[in-house]
Subunit: 255 residues, 2 copies
Amino acid sequence: MEKLKVIKIGGNVIDNPAKLEAFLASFATMKGHRILVHGGGAVASRTLQAMGIAPKMIEGRRVTDADTLQVVTAVYAGLINKTIVATLQKYGCNAAGLSGADCNAIVSAKRAATPIDYGFVGDVKSVNARAFSMFLDNGITPVVCAINHDGCGTLLNTNADTVASSIATAMGNRYDTELVLCFEKDGVLLDKDDASSVIPEIDSALFAKLKAEGRISEGMLPKLKNAFDAIAGGVSKVTVKNSDNLTDDTGTTIR
Amino acid sequence: MEKLKVIKIGGNVIDNPAKLEAFLASFATMKGHRILVHGGGAVASRTLQAMGIAPKMIEGRRVTDADTLQVVTAVYAGLINKTIVATLQKYGCNAAGLSGADCNAIVSAKRAATPIDYGFVGDVKSVNARAFSMFLDNGITPVVCAINHDGCGTLLNTNADTVASSIATAMGNRYDTELVLCFEKDGVLLDKDDASSVIPEIDSALFAKLKAEGRISEGMLPKLKNAFDAIAGGVSKVTVKNSDNLTDDTGTTIR
């Protein structure tokens, strides 16, 4: 099977134009099939603020009401996505930006309104592997934002880690697939206050042990859950690493 | 040769949610290959206003400065484009939204800064017919916004009529191509104050005569210039018609 890397970046890269440019230059030099998934970053929050739309938060999580959905669709699928695509084209990487609605690539289901109504937030229901393969077979690199649709005309805001993990899983029986989750740290840390305490490799036994000992930071738990879901779904390997070190073999490997 | 329709819609449809929904429902029922090109409408102006970015106009035309480019990229390539794509998916038309940067579909050159600097505004330089064919060959309908790129990392705002005309021309040697320019009137009018005075067919001799007599309205002149450019470039037929009458044979035909 041919190899495929599904690489996810978040706010630490997207919110920093110099870092984003350096990341994309590095991404463009990579060989082989790859899919880039990006989160939203702080631009949407700043835009909502500039437009005088007050953020609604419940238990620390943003509620995506109709106005907010319009802004995040504009910012994620438009501004950020096309900025990334145009930059990749500059570096010779033929990219195509996609929301889940494009080519019916990703269908999500609106999250139930009880117990908490988060508004236009979706959970991934299905990934159209054939659509992604069309681009890869034609030498085009998909760049995917975390806006997808329900198939009935409604766009939905979705967690970007989950989008990346779902794409990697869906591609797992067509390609030897690796999922790479980039963030601001060098990997999963044994001691969250010691940046050098990167754990080189985690299996489910070690994960259970570290979790029981309370050594995994709260932000890392859903990331690792996504990683193990991907492994269980047929992805060969998941790497959690610093976005600055895209092309080297640092980070934490989950198998 | 297989047939292809390149259909352009503007503000009169995009700014009216009910009209847009009806148009897209009608578009989805059409048979055969087609490409939809959409302009921007008033949403971008409203967003700029909401964000407190003052419109800069020179001789009645908008100057696209860096802030304005960010907003039009967000609104055209994100909000409007994905709303259209998600709605087409609902009606069973498998669509994919594209800016010119995606798949390197359309490269524009930034307009010269003299005599008037309109900022990040581009004129179409080349259309990648192979990229559009990839979608059509896979049964996917491209939905194109008028944001494209210069190939060097800069996005550029471009006239949507010109984008539609350029795509139709580029596809002309692969498909028997028709360009359909939709707007709020029933066609080119012999008397601009009489909505029923539609001219059924115009050739270049009649166009020259009507122009000399001052009977073509100012807004219609660039539209007709685009139409004749397309015919000269190998497009079989151009139709100027009301967006409400997409699937019937009303309107003005230019040959």
